[in-house]
Point group: none
Chain length 224, copies 2
DNA sequence: CTCGCTTGTAACCATTATGTAACCAAATCT
DNA sequence: AGATTTGGTTACATAATGGTTACAAGCGAG
């Protein structure tokens, strides 16, 4: 899948140059002369990266980013800023951007930086998912989603749910769960597993309508 | 990797001579009789250096450079000029050329100057940014900005924040942090990571309103 | 060498998670 | 149906874990 790059730059010739080169590299491009229609484009299209002149006629680049971030958009941005002594001093004020290039720049270096930023932001979606019905566990971020809702589980509850899902289809005996989730053999007596399962049930299905976990009397628990 | 040199010169014989000699030295060359197609060539190919006659039939050399720089290209340029006057040499430098040769010139001297310019322009002065929400780390200058504010972090705190951001989206266990930030395996006990995280939290979010760092009880820490 | 900053450690506090027990409800058996 | 067995529910004590603070050793800049 090609990455789509949005360009905001008030120099039409530079847009042309950038679009030509980026398309040649296999990117899709969207060129804009001002930020006027950019917001709409961001809402309508999926944009992987924004290349933006820092000093646009209508708005300051970092201001635009601030607005964008406020709307909840975290599209990465690379600034293109003029090598103006005034801006050199204020380099620290380039904020919210993922990278920046000072004009004049080498086209090949820009391409490398684009690649780097895309690689970096793509990687953050390196999740490790386990799903059962509408439950979704992300093992790397240890987050749990049920439908669109995110819920919180303790370490024990998370591990318990994880092994239940991992062995879905088979009935898990208490000994098995104690060994796999708690780590110790039979050092626990009584209702330990029982209570844990119930606390888990309470969290993933408070109104008892989904019936994720089924009790097999005399044996243990299972998911279907 | 061979450097590519673009030549713009209205004397076809001189182009041929230059190309022959430069190729013999191991450079790749692109010859042009006018600036007409040079812009396109600069977009398509990586060019390390431009050799340019200062008085071309279609455009003045320094004017062309000005245009190029405005487009954001910083490819170095060496002027070749038939006129010999100190005044003009200085003017040439002021207008953005990296070096200047007056015809007739010694081929060996040109080669030396080409080498010098290429060596000089290899170094990159661009920064290396890592961002998370409104936090921005500049890895080359090791400065940290949160929004408009610049804050100071110790080496340890900087490295810690850096690895947290680099692995944003996954929970980082204490062992992992000890290995990656501290460098040693398990040579630390107790609250070492803990205290470091809290010192970092205190600096990047003194009034505890931003909640950048989330504690995952029993596992470690994460950004989200 | 000294001063100040950094940072590991320990002691202590606060919070959360969880094992256990007591009790209740439901299923199973005779 | 009543007894018995098994699981569910609740409350609570405490263990586990992380946060906070203070302090001293280490380290580097001057």
């Amino acid at each position: 899948m090609k990455a789509q790059i949005l360009i905001v730059e008030d120099d039409a010739d530079l847009i042309e140059l950038l679009e030509y080169r980026l398309q040649k590299e296999g990117y899709e491009t969207l060129g804009f002369l001002s930020t006027k229609n950019v917001k709409r484009a961001l809402a309508e299209e999926h944009v992987d990266l924004i290349l933006m002149d820092r000093s646009l006629p209508d708005i300051e680049g970092s201001e635009f980013i601030a607005m964008m971030r406020e709307k909840g958009l975290d599209t990465p941005v690379i600034f293109l800023s003029a090598k103006d002594s005034k801006y050199q001093v204020e380099e620290g004020f380039i904020r919210g951007a993922d990278d920046y290039m000072t004009k004049p720049f080498e086209m090949s270096e820009l391409l490398l930086r684009i690649e780097a930023v895309l690689r970096r932001t793509k990687k953050s979606i390196h999740s490790n998912l386990v799903t059962y019905r509408d439950i979704q566990l992300d093992l790397s971020s240890r987050t749990i989603h049920i439908g669109a809702q995110e819920i919180e589980l303790t370490k024990l509850e998370f591990d318990l749910l994880h092994t239940l899902i991992a062995h879905q289809g088979s009935v898990l005996k208490r000994d098995f769960l104690l060994k796999n989730v708690w780590g110790r053999g039979g050092s626990f007596q009584g209702r330990t597993v029982n209570v844990a399962i119930n606390r888990l049930k309470e969290k993933i299905d408070p109104d008892k309508s989904k019936n994720y976990i089924k009790t097999i009397r005399g044996i243990g628990y299972t998911l279907f």
